[in-house]
Every structure is written in C-alpha cells, then in structure tokens.
Amino acid sequence: MHLKALKTTTYTISFLLLWLFTSTNSALAQEKSSFNIGLAVAISNTPEESQLEKANQATDFFMDWGEARFGINSNTAKKNLSLYDNTWNTFLSTQTYYGAWRPALGDSKDEGAYALIGLGYFISDLDLGNSTATESSQAFGLVSGVGTNAKLGEISFGLQANYLTAEGKFHDITVALGGIQLMFTMHLEI
C-alpha cells in the first residue's frame, strides 16, 4: 500500500474513533473545542523488543483537536551484534503515525490528567550495517498512554507515558517495533 494512502487510513480510523466517543457523550460534544500543537521528548525510553536497547531519546510531535490527537512518534533502537566473528551495531528506526482518542481524566479538558488510546501505523527501517541493504517494514499497531500537564498561559508543560506496540517483519526476521516512553511534553494553544 502506498504510504500516503496508509497515513490517510490511519487518520480516518482516528476520526472515526473520535466521532464514536464524542457522539456518545453529548456533554463533551457541547464543550468548546481547542486546538494545540505540541512536542514531546523522552526522558527515558525502552524498546519493546527485549534484546534491543535505545539508540537515542524518542520524540513525539503531535496536535490535539478536541479529544483527538494526531502525532508522529520517532524512536531508534539498537543492538550490538557479535556474529560470525564480526561485531557491529544494528539500528531499528521507527516512525509511528498515529491517531488517538485523548479523554480528560479530570474535570478540565485543557489541563490535568488525560489518557491516550489509538492506532498507529509503524514505518520501520532495520539498518543491518556494513554493506547489507537496509530492510523496511510497515505495520499497524497500538498506541496508548497517560499524561498530565499544567497550563502556563498559552503554553502547557507536562509528563506523558506512552506505550507503543507493533510487530514488524524484515525479510525473515521478526521484531517488536514499539517501546515504553516517559516523555516531557510542551504544547501551545492556537
């Protein structure tokens, strides 16, 4: 499937989720909708695949619209391999395009605790190192999380815990693509 088409599919599913939840809650539907863009940087992250370790801190770029969040989560994991008398690093880079429902856990939708649950489309590259060609994989997976933020004028700061999970196939190798991330978030109301 073409990448653009897949992204569109992800967004469509997210919209459907949003519609589902907002339409079943008339009180929420009547609330004033808000629009935020934000950036999150991981304080800690752990790749889902048990033998992989983090290669750098994960980042997440997102926009919130009402109770919906759309975002791109980037993460790179690595494994130092010692095989066949060679030692080298193998990198797994994953970009997750996701759409999620973001219900407030407290009374206020704009600040306080919130949860995230949605679907992600995971696009991964497995860099095998040296002269071996990089392998790619695309897979659907789950995005979930909880977070909290404090509003300082139009800017909010907060903490968010994410759990992303998906499984990728790279030729004959199966790898879990997700990760557990604790992120520092910052977002701006527009």
Binding site: T46, L83, D107, S131, G145
Partner: protein, 551 residues
C-alpha cells in the same frame, strides 16, 4: 475526579500493565540465521563443481572466508594441507580413468579455527572427468615389444547439443573373439549438482546381440519454495522390459528377497510440515522385490540448525523389513544429536522383534576449537563402560596421546584398554627439502595400566602436499626399536601424481631396496601404465599401455 475518568484511568493502566511486558523474538538468533546476513556467515567453497572437467590428478581445494586451523587440518588429518593461507585446505585426488561413468563428489565440512562449523552447504556436486571419444590399449612385453589389443571403448556425443550420448565398451578374449559388449546411454541430469547420468546400461553376450542384463536409471526433480524432491530409480532387467536380477549389476538381497529395483527419494524441506521440521533432509531408500512390492526400507533423517544446511542438529537412521502385506518391521535404529554442528551423542539401539531398546551411548566432548577430547561409552543402563581420552598440544592442538580405559560398571574402577598411543610432530629437512614427520608409538597394557615400554612404532614422512613419502614400521624388541617394514613414494612435483613406489625387504632391521613400481600419465594426468621393475631395474612383467583420445 469523575467516575468515568476513574474508569478510563484504570482502563489505561490496565492496558499498559497488560502490554508492558517486553516482547522477545530472540532478535540475535533471528539475525544469526537470517539470509540477510549470509555474507557474514562462515562460508566454504570448492574449487571444482559439476561444470569442471577433471584431470586425472587434481587438487581439491576448499576455501573458507575465515581461517581454518592450520595444525588441525595440516597435521592432524594428513590428507589435507594448508595452501596459500590458512583459509584454504587442499588434497590431491587421483581419478582412476576418464571414462564417462567415472565421477567424484565431495562434501566436507572442516571446523573453523574457533571451533565452529560452516553455515553453508558446500558440495562439489557430481563431477566428471575430461571427455574422451575413445580408449585403446596395447600390451607391452618384458622385452618392450608392444602389441595392440582389439578391445575398444568409444564415446559418442550429440551432434546438435554436444552433450554425451552413449559409450560402447567392447572386449575380446585372447583368441580375438568378442567376449562382452557393454553399452551405456546417458541423459542430462535434472539436478543442478550434476551434468548427466547413466540412464541405461546394457550387457550383451559374446554374440554381441543377446542381452544378458540391463539396468535403467531415472532421475526426477521437483522443487517448490517449500520442498525439493529428488527421486533416483534403478531397475534391473533381463530384457529391457521384464524386471530380473543379473550378476553384473546385481542389487543383492534384502529381507531374504532378491532385489530388482531401488528407489531413493531425497526430500529437502525448506519449511515445516505437520510431520517434518523445517530444514530437514529426508532420504528414503526402498528396495523392491518386484515392480511394486517393497521388501526393505531405510529412512535417514538429518535436521539442520539453520537454513544453510551447514550445521546438523540431529541425525537418525532406521531400517525396516517390509512384508508382502506391507507391514513394516523395525530392524535397525541409530541416532545422533549435535551441538553447534558437532556430534555430541550417538545412540545405538538393539532391535528385537521390531522394537528398539538403547544399547550403547557414545558421548563426545570437544575443546574450544572443536577438536575431540573425550569419547565416553555407556551401556543400556547409562553406566559408563569406557572413556577414550585425547591429550592435545596446547599450542598446536595436535593429538599428543590417546588413552582409552575400560570402566567397571560395578566398582567404577578404570583399567587400561588396548589402543594406547603417543604422537609426536616434527618438521625435518632432508637434502634441503622440508618434510613433516609424524611418529606414533603404541603401548599395550600391563596389570591394568599402560605399559611403560612400547609395543611398536610407526614413522610417516609427508611432503608439503601432505602426501605420504615414506612409511617406516618398527617393533619394540629387546629394549629397542627394530625396523620391520619400509615403503617410499615419489610424486611429480608439478601435479602431485604418484610416480613411483619403492618397496624394501627388511631383514634384522636393515632395509634393502627391492622391486619398484613406476606410474606413467598422459598429458591430462590420467594413468596410462603401471610398470613393475626388479631391484636390478628390469621390467618384471608385461604391462598394459592405455591411450585416450580426448573430445
């Protein structure tokens, strides 16, 4: 906090808790066995394959992409020598003749210097000699008079494809009358490991037209992404139509029946099925007493640890007698388990009344370089009965001693068993030529321990190609070694072909040169004459001179 929020909060945490255990797809193993990383795997290749047309004497070279252990393969196994670096090991092979029915095939898996075995399947395939169109022979008398023989061997090739078509071997008796006529017909082999195979063999009597017997062979190949199946069928006929046994190419008997047909099916499983694991090679041999009645059956199952079919993980062989009502009765069973491609344990079974019970177990232990250190034999009750120990030189890894002991199953007491020996390895220079000298001293047992005095000694000298140049045997008599036999060999420096064997008569430890044999080769290194000379350099018997005409 609202009730709904609490619900969602607990839902989210439950979700996180449920999935927060990490996934383990055994990433490193996945990488190790992945086709993607095959270029990092330890690979071996041969210098010849099925497209090569072999000379009479050639060097079979096996090259690894990483180092083999020089000592392990150069000294320990004198058949091989290190060549051009420690990544290649070689051996000189001699083919008996360039007839189209002659072929060789090698598949050999040396252990790398770190004790690991190669990851790939390496084999030469079935390799044939240089093509001839004819062979003729003559007899040379001791006086050197040559007289041409009537015998002929003629090979024809397809005029359109140039491929081998048939061969006719005609022989005459001493009166000049036809004695036998053999006709071989060849087909293109569907397997990519071979160029052709003999599809028909016909043996005619002295009239040249009456068929004494015939053998037909078919080879079929079917291959999918999941399974490769090769079937080789051999059948004997009295004429070309009725199955019958005949002496020349008899399949013998099995399960008290005369065998008229054999079918060997080799199945290579690339993916698992409900009954067979992935990367399994299953070789089923069936011997038929009639066109459709199986009398005997053997199944060899080799399971490989990876998709390269290089490392064996297990091997088993079972044999059955098959009744006329197709009931299979187990007659033999053995199996082996492997680790890292090296055999760890072999189980031998006693089969009685169709059921097997474990009889003997052999367990093997290796050093870090994959070299055998001990072999332990255990009985059916898993009690150790024998331990064979190899001592190795710490630097070179060469075996320096071998000590087998029998173990009492009741008391556990170890006592000396026969076959004890010590080995020494030296490089010696004779007339500025270096030779490898390997000495083996054999010891017997005395009062349950290894004797302090030897029983015999043998010294072998090898040239740089690790070809045996001299073999000296000694007995230990009256406190000293006394020479009992000696044979020397000479090789052509360019090709490695053996050119001379010098025999000695040994008397009271003194060797005296006696007869010698001289081997002569044609330009393609095929043997054309074997001449035996007396100690006085006279030809001792008439000999055959062979001449080949090459295609």
């Amino acid at each position: 906090m609202k009730k709904r929020s609490l619900k969602i909060l607990s839902l989210a945490f439950a979700l996180l808790a449920a999935v927060s255990c990490k996934k383990d797809n055994n990433f490193k193993n996945g990488m190790a066995y992945s086709d993607l990383l095959s270029e990092y795997a330890k690979q071996i290749t041969y210098n010849i394959d099925q497209d090569t047309k072999l000379a009479g004497v050639f060097t079979l070279r096996l090259t690894g992409n990483q180092a083999f252990n020089a000592y392990y393969w150069g000294w320990e196994v004198p058949d091989f020598f290190m060549e051009s670096s420690n990544q290649s090991i070689s051996t000189v092979i001699t083919l008996s003749d360039p007839l189209p029915t002659t072929s060789v095939s090698y598949s050999y898996f040396p252990v790398y210097s770190d004790g690991t075995v190669p990851y790939n399947t390496a084999t030469t395939g079935t390799v044939f000699p240089k093509e001839i169109t004819a062979r003729s022979t003559s007899t040379v008398s001791t006086a050197g008079v040559e007289s041409a023989d009537d015998d002929t061997y003629v090979v024809t090739y397809s005029s359109t494809t140039g491929l081998i078509a048939d061969a006719t071997d005609t022989r005459y008796d001493s009166n000049g009358d036809l004695s036998t006529l053999r006709v071989y017909t060849f087909e293109v082999d569907p397997r990519d490991s071979s160029r052709y195979y003999t599809s028909h063999y016909q043996l005619f009597g002295s009239d040249g037209t009456t068929l004494t017997g015939a053998t037909a062979q078919t080879v079929t190949l079917t291959e999918t992404d999941d399974l490769k199946t090769e079937v080789v069928t051999l059948a004997n006929y009295d004429t070309d139509s009725a199955l019958a046994d005949y002496t020349d190419q008899s399949f013998g008997t099995a399960n008290s029946s005369t065998i008229l047909k054999t079918v060997e099916t080799t199945e290579t499983y690339y993916t698992a099925t409900s009954s067979v694991a992935k990367n399994t090679v299953l070789v089923t041999t069936e011997k038929y007493s009639s066109a459709s009645q199986v009398a005997w059956k053997q199944i060899e199952k080799t399971i490989y640890a990876d998709a390269y079919f290089g490392k064996i993980s297990s091997y088993s062989i079972v044999q059955y007698n098959v009744s006329t009502s197709d009931t299979e009765t187990l007659t033999s069973q053995n199996s082996s388990t492997y680790s890292g491609g090296l055999v760890l344990q072999t189980n031998n079974y006693t089969v009685s009344g169709g059921s097997a019970s474990l009889s003997t177990t052999y367990t093997y232990a290796y050093d870090d370089y994959g070299r055998l250190l001990t072999m332990t034999t255990a009985n059916s009750s898993s009690k150790t009965t024998k331990i064979s120990t190899y001592t190795r030189d710490a630097t070179t890894g060469n075996v320096t001693s071998y000590r087998p002991v029998t173990v009492s199953t009741s008391t556990g007491t170890e006592s000396c068993a026969s076959g004890n020996y010590d080995m020494t390895y030296e490089t010696v220079t004779v007339s500025s030529v270096e030779y490898k000298k390997i000495t083996q001293i054999v010891y017997g047992c005395s009062s349950g321990s290894v004797s302090s005095t030897a029983t015999s000694k043998s010294i072998n000298f090898y040239n740089a190609r690790m070809q045996l140049v001299s073999n000296l045997e000694y007995t230990y008599t009256n406190g000293g070694y006394v020479l009992s036999s000696q044979v020397d060999y000479t090789y052509a420096s360019a090709t490695g072909a053996m050119t001379k064997q010098q025999d000695y008569t040994v008397s009271s430890g003194v060797a005296t040169a006696s007869t010698y044999t001289v081997y002569a080769y044609d330009s393609n290194n095929f043997l054309i004459s074997t001449i035996v000379y007396t100690a006085a350099d006279a030809v001792s018997a008439s000999y055959t001179l062979t001449s080949y005409t090459y295609n």
